[in-house]
């Protein structure tokens, strides 16, 4: 028997994501995927405990960032160089990437985030690991699955 006339709405799961800039594009990545965010002072990756630095512009286009920020991924030993970090937000929903998008972006993104009226892609961090692994296979653990498939797809568009 219910104590109240109405059931309370179920709480929605909350995920913290970091918004960051790559050129003119604002993208998001799950905060739980990051070990730290640091200034890019031109250090070698080994100097801050990483195996490789991947410029996000190599994946998403634009000029390589100069003196931007580094998103250090958790577990993979890869840091991602970006133009800037916007802020941390909490989201309650990730929208599916429309099926009309059928290129490598299906692996680049976990989905889309709505922030007000703004649509922001939520990046799959594995694509950065794949990029690093292809560039320096000896030092970065191999990624698998969708990210590898997406990279191959990008290299050889259908």
């Amino acid at each position: 028997m219910r104590r109240f006339g109405r059931s309370l709405p179920a709480s929605r799961p909350v995920e913290a994501v970091i918004l960051f800039w790559v050129g003119l594009h604002r993208l998001a990545i799950s905060a739980s995927e990051l070990r730290e965010i640091r200034n890019d002072r031109g250090l070698a990756p080994a100097e801050f405990g990483c195996a490789a630095i991947v410029p996000a512009s190599a994946l998403f286009g634009g000029a390589p960032p100069q003196g931007g920020r580094l998103l250090v991924l958790r577990h993979s030993g890869v840091a991602v160089s970006v133009d800037g970090v916007d802020r941390l937000i909490e989201i309650t929903a990730v929208y599916v990437l429309p099926r009309a998008f059928r290129g490598a972006e299906r692996c680049w993104y976990r989905g889309l985030v709505l922030l007000g009226d703004a649509v922001i892609p939520l990046v799959n961090p594995e694509v950065f690991v794949v990029h690093a692994e292809l560039a320096e296979p000896q030092v970065v653990p191999a990624a698998s699955g969708c990210a590898v498939q997406g990279w191959a797809q990008e290299a050889n568009p259908v």
Binding site: R26, P98, R99, G103
Partner: protein
């Protein structure tokens, strides 16, 4: 002569630059007001970005690139049309140059010289209007070649 060419059907005519094209009314959801196209990096040819309508994220498709060989048109409205993806269907916003028109008529089968994305043609006001097959049009656009990754410029600025 097939059944499609012997029975009057209804079609939505839409302008694209100086020309008009048609879709069967069953493929069309509504005509929508202009809105902000939000762009992010992707590799799917023909897609300009996404549009938010009533809390839903819709891909925005520039069909003029394939139909007219140009993407320099001025777009005023969006024709929201259904596309099929296996068993599912998804709404896509097609950019059009102006108001649309509902017509009834008999679709004539396509000639051998017409592209595969032409289902047939209608005779409307002394003009032959091509009736489009959106899935074949998407396939043709994909075959035209993919745009470089990250080629889509963003609207937002850091």
């Amino acid at each position: 002569m097939n059944a499609a060419s012997t029975h009057a059907q209804s079609f939505v005519l839409f302008p694209l630059g100086e020309r008009r094209f048609a879709l069967p009314t069953g493929d069309v959801l509504e005509l929508s007001r202009p809105g902000r196209v939000q762009e992010f990096p992707h590799t799917t040819p023909g897609l300009d970005g996404v549009l938010v309508r009533r809390g839903r994220i819709l891909p925005v498709w520039d069909v003029a690139r394939t139909l007219l060989g140009s993407n320099a048109l001025v777009y005023k409205l969006y024709l929201l049309a259904w596309r099929k993806f296996d068993a599912a269907r998804e709404c896509t916003a097609i950019q059009v140059s102006g108001e649309c028109q509902l017509v009834h008529g008999e679709m004539q089968p396509p000639s051998d010289q017409q592209p595969a994305y032409v289902r047939g043609s209608l005779w409307v006001e002394a003009e032959s209007v091509q009736v489009l097959d959106l899935e074949m049009l998407a396939a043709a656009q994909h075959a035209d070649g993919s745009q470089p990754r990250g080629a889509v410029a963003g609207k937002e600025k850091p």
